[in-house]
């Protein structure tokens, strides 16, 4: 038991929690924004993979790290545009379109990577983001050292969660987005263009997903390999439900999942005789349990996955 307490009280664990949570925060917020407007975006897994690849590639080709993030965001926006064109303008099934975008974006990232980066024994690397120490914050007990181990995109993710919560619940645009996700006909009748809102939300949301992917190659690691997103996109989709479509809770959910993950990693090293695969499973099992507890009474946006066609009820 004291081993467990030691792990929980260690700065290293909490630093890892924030690091592991960062791509999930970006992904979850991106998916949440799309869904608040009524569009499920299962393109997330592929978009994150592509963001990881293209962000890394940009830096590998000589761009600076922030430009790498920006390039990733733009690539996400392009895939978002594709998904929006298929689901909003053409009104196609959001599931099928999203899975299509994921397959397309993943394959395209492997292809471009192979095309532009010569095959070698050890993967090529870049110089990733360095940890950032914010004066004032860094001096806080416990929290200070935890935060000082983080890179700038992690700070960005935390601020983004707060910003998105504010935007969704406190601004006219946020209300227009929510109304579009609940009842696009009502939005239209009040002079809001639901098509435009959905396009905007899907494009911006997809850009956030891609930034989440780029964090993996520009901060968490320093190289790209095709399977590195490892289901983080799917976890994000589940976290949106867990969060009941609220950005604050999405942040909490991402941190909780990251906690399970970081915790099991450390537990592996101190507990003998248990196959490590069992530890690997725990965060996913606990996520399912948490989902069952938290999401049963979630208020799903009423128009989620319903294509909007003008003049049709």
């Amino acid at each position: 038991m004291s081993i467990v307490l030691d792990i929980v009280a260690s700065i290293g664990l909490w630093a890892a929690v924030l690091r592991i949570a960062t791509p999930l925060i970006f992904g979850t917020l991106g998916a949440l924004l799309c869904e608040r407007a009524g569009v499920l975006n299962l393109g997330i897994e592929g978009i994150m993979t592509f963001g990881a690849m293209i962000g890394w590639l940009a830096v590998y080709q000589g761009a600076d790290l922030w430009t790498g993030l920006l390039v990733a965001a733009l690539s996400g926006a392009v895939f978002g545009l594709l998904h929006a064109a298929l689901t909003v303008t053409l009104g196609l099934s959001q599931h099928v379109s999203g899975l299509g975008v994921t397959l397309f974006a993943s394959s395209l990232s492997y292809y471009l990577f192979r095309l532009l980066v010569p095959l070698s024994g050890s993967p090529p690397t870049i110089e990733p983001f360095a940890p950032l120490s914010v004066p004032g914050l860094a001096d806080l007990p416990f929290i200070g050292p935890v935060l000082s181990a983080q890179t700038p995109p992690t700070y960005l993710a935390l601020l983004l969660a707060l910003g998105l919560a504010y935007a969704i619940f406190r601004t006219p645009l946020g209300l227009a987005i929510r109304m579009t996700g609940e009842n696009p006909h009502a939005a239209e009748a009040q002079g809001v263009d639901p098509m435009a809102v959905r396009y905007g939300a899907v494009i911006v949301g997809s850009a956030l997903m891609a930034v989440g992917g780029a964090f993996l190659t520009l901060s968490a690691f320093n190289s790209f390999f095709p399977t590195m997103v490892q289901g983080r996109g799917w976890i994000s989709i589940a976290l949106v439900v867990f969060a009941s479509w609220r950005p604050g809770r999405a942040l909490f959910g991402a941190l909780l999942f990251a906690f399970f993950d970081a915790f099991q990693l450390r537990l592996q090293t101190v507990v003998d005789g248990v196959p490590y695969q069992l530890f690997l499973m725990t965060p996913y099992i606990l996520s399912i349990v948490a989902l069952c507890v938290m999401a049963r009474h979630a208020r799903v946006p009423q128009a989620l996955m319903q294509p909007y066609r003008r003049g049709e009820r």
Binding site: L173, A189, V192, Q302
Partner: protein, 505 residues
């Protein structure tokens, strides 16, 4: 005449060769209430959709206070002071009242929603017109009547001077409808102008200053409410004389369905409390009451979807245990559910599929797990013919039928099999005059043929015209039965208010 605020000038609109509106002209004065009367499909809703900018007219103009309104732009209509209250509310149940009202009213790209100011404005409007509602309540938690208030407030919040209401009472109880019309009159008194669409003659006569009748896309008549009668309007609307059929004296048979002190609990709430009734073959027993007093539980109990918590049910003189839906069908109980689109028929399926769905297990319609499609289609075709279902055949998707025709299909599906008992919940709700008469005639035919009919309704006229005996349902309790020949509308009104309880005590 007073100052004209709205002028519809020879507006026409066609859908695929079908003229929904044919050169309709209409004016609306300040402080005036105009009723737009017509059967379903007469073009009322099309006209109002053009007015509100949902459709672009093929020809014609709309002028608000003398200024042309650009066609096909809801925003321009809102800006010109036109507010629309749709029959199916344009509201988001997960958002609060205030959020529903505020959507789209502020500049989209501002840093902060001015909720404080909006709340104050909403409260002021609510007080001015007597539309009380909590701004911070979640919309989905409100009753239908309250939700409609929010729809009206939404229009007023956008500074509407002209309010269009599309069949505003279709979803309301009688009491709510009365409150609504009092509110509308108060609005007109304060200088607003209103158009409401309806096919109910009573409310048109009661609430409108002027009545405009549409038929087949044309404006056929315009009358001042004081200078016309229900009979005249009914004739104008349908194009020929219609009379709702009335029951004739008729010998009733033996009791077929009896309930003795039956209670039903749903989710810990008592929906029915020790109700008793006795339904005879060849009679219609009317259960009258304001909706929400246990009618849904009663219909559910007798259709096999709800189980009783205590009491006894006798079917054909014998006690029965809990009946499943399939057993009720098998024992000759026909059912007309209250909500035909949700429980009565499956819109995306073809007419023939809906016609045989509850009998699909019978050998004539399926054998060894395979559907005998030709037999099923023939069965549906027979219903379509004998019950005069118009607007499609057995292969039509059911969603495409009008409400009246869908109801005829449901009625036909039940009556074609000569049920011994028919549970009819609000069978004529939302139907136009012609369809109401047809449905009533069919129910009376069934009675004549010896079917026992339990008619659950909140329409006094309907119950008085059809039922032999009447019991009121209030708060899950049933009054003792009264003979329909011995009561009038006033006495029934008292019963619906629960007046019998005092006598009993």
């Amino acid at each position: 005449m007073t100052e004209t605020v709205l002028e519809i000038d020879r507006v026409s609109k066609s859908f695929g060769g079908n003229k929904a509106n044919d050169a309709i002209s209409l004016t609306l004065g300040r402080g005036e209430i105009v009723a737009l009367l017509g059967e379903n499909g007469a073009g009322k809703t099309t006209l109002m959709s053009i007015l509100f900018g949902h459709y672009v007219p093929d020809e014609g103009h709309i002028r608000v206070a003398g200024v042309d309104l650009p066609p096909g732009r809801p925003r321009a209509a809102i800006h010109a002071g036109i507010g629309m209250v749709h029959q199916h509310f344009s509201l988001a149940p997960n958002l609060t009242v205030l959020e529903n009202v505020m959507t789209g009213t502020e500049k989209l790209w501002s840093w902060r929603s001015q909720t404080g100011r909006a709340r104050a404005k909403l409260k002021a409007l609510a007080e001015r017109f007597g539309l009380v509602v909590d701004p911070d309540a979640r919309l989905g938690d409100l009753s239908v009547g309250e939700q409609q208030r929010v729809e009206i407030l939404k229009a007023l919040y956008n500074d509407a001077r002209i309010l269009i209401l599309d069949e505003p009472t279709a979803v309301l109880t009688n009491l709510e409808a009365e409150t609504l019309f009092a509110t509308l009159k108060e609005m007109a008194r304060q200088g607003l102008s209103l158009i409401f669409i309806s096919h109910k003659l009573d409310e048109v006569m009661a609430a409108a200053d002027r009545v405009v009748v549409l038929r087949g896309g044309k404006l056929v008549a315009e009358r001042r409410a004081g200078e016309t009668s229900k009979a005249e309007l009914a004739e104008l609307m349908v194009g020929h004389r219609v009379a709702r059929p009335v029951r004739e004296a008729h010998e009733r048979g033996a009791p077929v369905l009896e309930a003795a002190a039956v209670s039903v609990r749903v989710d810990g709430v008592d929906r029915l409390r020790e109700i008793s009734f006795r339904l005879h073959a060849g009679e219609i027993l009317g259960i009258i009451g304001v909706s929400g007093n246990g009618q849904a539980a009663l219909a559910g109990l007798l259709s096999g979807t709800l189980l009783r918590s205590s009491g006894d049910i006798l079917l054909y003189g014998e006690g029965v245990g809990d009946l499943s839906v399939a057993e009720t069908v098998a024992s000759g109980i026909g059912r007309i559910p209250e909500d035909r689109t949700r429980e009565g028929a499956i819109g995306e399926m073809a007419v023939w599929e809906n016609a045989v769905l509850e009998r699909i297990d019978e050998p004539r319609f399926s054998r060894r797990g395979l559907v005998n499609r030709s037999a099923a289609v023939a069965f549906a075709d027979a219903i379509v013919r004998s019950f005069d279902v118009r607007g499609g055949g057995p292969l039509t998707r059911t969603r495409l039928l009008s409400g009246g025709n869908m109801q005829k299909l449901i009625l036909g599906r039940n009556l074609a099999e000569h049920p011994r008992i028919l549970i009819a919940a609000q069978p004529a709700r939302g139907l136009d005059e012609g369809a109401v008469a047809a449905v009533h005639a069919r129910i009376l035919d069934a009675r004549k043929a010896g079917t026992a009919v339990l008619l659950i309704s909140e329409d006094l006229d309907e119950v008085i015209a059809l039922a032999d005996r009447i019991q009121a349902i209030v708060g899950g309790r049933l009054s003792p039965p009264v003979s329909a020949d011995e009561v009038d509308a006033r006495a029934l009104g008292l019963m619906m208010a629960g007046a019998w309880k005092k006598e009993a005590a």
